[in-house]
């Protein structure tokens, strides 16, 4: 393949991944890495480096839009980033110790979970709760707009949520993904934070988490400009278009199709990881 062909093909694949990732809320990274490794035979380490960069681009690029909606909670985000960034540094360190095959298998398992989430959808956790003692001391609760008027919400189970965020950060650093799905589960399910607040705060946190791995990724040479360039530009473009269209589209069918694609990718990643082809 020539450099021009590679750049164009990777850009197109990444734009599609960013577009679908934005529409389904799963992010572009989970598709970009298997697409690069399985379809183009790119070594996992280049793929996760490029993906990490694209994760930062979509997170920072979408920040203004999310803030405008008035859902994200900067205190929750900042507090939990202590956990995600420490986890990310550990994950990035482990990435250099893992063999490519092992990385592929772990990635496949994460894809299985992503496929499961797209089939099942994510029902919002129902009623609001009052903050428990620790969350109240940390002033994590807040308000968010419901039908135009602000409604207050409380936060619970901070230690469990914090621990889960450490895990989310480690996965992000190990695999070059945003691991937004795990972050949302930690906030929405465990800490009982409203779903909308969880997803928008998660988007904010993803970029900071990824930046914590970036130093080690750069040092080890995972971020190769020739691979990261088309991935970053493609995912960013696709995600911006996807976010604009999101309001006008029915995403249920799309989620199902996307879920099926991810499931197929998951199986192929795991099989190739075990047989040593990736």
């Amino acid at each position: 393949m020539t450099a021009l062909e590679f750049t164009v093909v990777v850009w197109a694949l990444s734009a599609l991944a960013g577009f679908l990732g934005a529409l389904t809320g799963l992010g572009g990274g989970v598709v970009v890495v298997p697409a690069l490794t399985l379809a183009l035979g790119v070594d996992m380490k280049y793929a996760i480096g490029a993906s990490l960069v694209s994760v930062i681009a979509t997170s920072s690029g979408a920040a203004a839009a999310y803030v405008r909606e008035g859902f994200s909670n900067i205190r929750i985000g900042m507090f939990l980033e202590i956990a995600t960034t420490i986890g990310a540094v550990l994950g990035a360190f482990l990435a250099s110790r893992f063999s490519t095959h092992a990385l592929a298998i772990v990635f496949g398992l994460i894809l299985l979970q992503a496929a499961y989430l797209s089939f099942k959808g994510t029902p919002e956790s129902a009623e609001r709760v009052a903050s428990d003692a620790l969350a109240a001391r940390l002033r994590l609760g807040g308000t968010y707009p419901v039908a135009g008027s602000p409604q207050t919400y409380g936060v619970r189970n901070v230690p469990a949520g914090f621990a889960m965020m450490f895990g989310a950060g480690a996965l992000s650093g190990l695999l070059g993904i945003g691991s937004g799905a795990v972050k949302v589960i930690a906030m929405d399910r465990v800490m009982r934070i409203p779903f909308k607040v969880s997803t928008t705060t998660s988007n904010f946190m993803i970029g900071v988490t990824a930046a914590a791995s970036a130093g080690l990724y750069l040092k080890h040479g995972y971020i190769d400009p020739r691979v990261a360039m088309p991935v970053m530009l493609g995912v960013l473009g696709g995600a911006l278009v996807g976010a604009k269209l999101l309001v006008h589209m029915r995403v249920k069918t799309l989620r199902m199709v996307f879920g099926a694609v991810i499931l197929a990718l998951a199986i192929e990643m795991i099989v190739n990881g075990i047989t040593g082809k990736v």
Binding site: A3, I74, V208, A211, A214, L218, V227
Partner: protein, 121 residues
């Protein structure tokens, strides 16, 4: 200044940073493709690149010499800086609000980020 206003300012600045990074990367990409479009490329086996793409001083000097890969990598550094800037701005905002707890929380996050990025110097 309330949290909302702070976040709006931060969100806007992040967007500007991302667009700037994308513009620099695009410029480097065009330069790279003009020079190297017909090169055979193969990324099947990972080979760590040299200091020109792995460490800040090398990247900056490579970009300053208008080497295409250095320019792309410099654009990616701008991008990596955006979330770091976000934490720094939030820190400033919390300090202005005299919110001691969250000023400390932001300092911790910022220190972790900077310590991690030190690996690439």
């Amino acid at each position: 200044m309330d949290d909302r206003r702070l976040e709006t300012i931060i969100g806007r600045l992040l967007q500007v940073g991302v667009l700037l990074a994308a513009a620099v990367v695009t410029f480097g990409a065009l330069a790279y493709l003009v020079q190297h479009h017909a090169d055979r490329v193969d990324y099947r086996h990972f080979v760590s690149g040299g200091p020109g793409i792995c460490a800040f001083p090398g990247i900056v000097s490579s970009a300053a010499h208008f080497e295409s890969l250095g320019i792309i990598q410099f654009g990616l550094l701008i991008l990596i800086a955006t979330p770091v800037a976000r934490v720094g701005l939030a820190l400033a905002g919390f300090a202005l609000e005299r919110d001691r707890l969250y000023t400390v929380v932001s300092v911790i996050v910022l220190l972790i980020l900077l310590a991690s990025l030190m690996h690439a110097t």
